[in-house]
Symmetry: D2
Amino acid sequence: MAKEQPVSHTEAHEACGRTDGDKIVRKSHHSAEFKNSLTSRLNRIEGQIRGIKGLIEKDTYCDDVLNQIAAVQSALNGVGKLLLEGHMKSCVIERMQAGEPEVIDELLVTVKKLIR
Amino acid sequence: MAKEQPVSHTEAHEACGRTDGDKIVRKSHHSAEFKNSLTSRLNRIEGQIRGIKGLIEKDTYCDDVLNQIAAVQSALNGVGKLLLEGHMKSCVIERMQAGEPEVIDELLVTVKKLIR
Amino acid sequence: MAKEQPVSHTEAHEACGRTDGDKIVRKSHHSAEFKNSLTSRLNRIEGQIRGIKGLIEKDTYCDDVLNQIAAVQSALNGVGKLLLEGHMKSCVIERMQAGEPEVIDELLVTVKKLIR
Amino acid sequence: MAKEQPVSHTEAHEACGRTDGDKIVRKSHHSAEFKNSLTSRLNRIEGQIRGIKGLIEKDTYCDDVLNQIAAVQSALNGVGKLLLEGHMKSCVIERMQAGEPEVIDELLVTVKKLIR
């Protein structure tokens, strides 16, 4: 699996909130580079899932299939950590600086879901 | 996510080893029903991965994307547990009964990768 | 296990930084109530660990011991989530409001260790 | 943390079942060496838990406490894996060889609790 690159603050996002008329629409504006990195990881994961379906179709020994599943879980964790890093280093900081501490409550809910 | 169904011994596999000439080729012979269940779960997961790529493309707020990633991890865990159950209730038992205790060593390696 | 109580902002901490002469010493000033809750959970966990040692001494069947270990892991997760919640709802918010965004980098390092 | 040593089959256990009159009492008969290894790991974990209580008492910065908690979780995982290995390499094999395939069902329940 490709090593996770740290996310630079400016590279990751441009803004985390936008008004659509009177309505606030939360948005993440990732840099093209960051998006490409996430997308190519997800493409690889999608390929792994398809590969696992093929293994099952061909009656591959379960042990080998389970090892592939562990590999996908690890790759997916990588995407999750990268996104979390991008989110914390941009939206969380920006919304805190814009006087919206509720971003921390939202972050807490998300982090609790990711914690083992 | 669909609730995991317990795997009946006979339904899951028919045999766990097969000779290909002189060479032993390990195989899992899942029942068509068990394979279909795994495949449809994996299809759903593949769709979720594609959905996450779309969310990133559309600059969806990271928190929402992270929640989707947590959902995929949970679905993938479900597949892993189902496969492990199928494996233990068929190949592990059969190979032990055929006097091949090394199946336990292999299982241990796999289980350690799945343990948090 | 006792249900986790949400942590109110004021109850959890009073301050997150303190100067000791010229040196900045990071401190968490938990409320007595919050400390008591953490301490009694940790006392219970300590008792569980001692219990597991007793089980091993008495040659208790491994399966039963492993179930106890899974229970301690779950209780320890509860303490971790509670502490993380207390930390994010007080120190992280306070230090961000005091213009110290590096608290987010520290938090990220910690959260990555806790993520499965 | 001390590196996990593989468990040799004979070292870990001597027997996994014993009759107490007419009643079958499941027992694990660990070798003295294996028991000592588990006990000293658990003693270290107990000390770490006491250490964490002290950190909370002294208002140590939460981030540092959370790092300690992650360390205990990892140490506890080590004990779990060691016990699982001892269990699988002795009781599971022995009971399978004694014609008790239900040991696999019990193992499956336990492993599912330990899987992330």
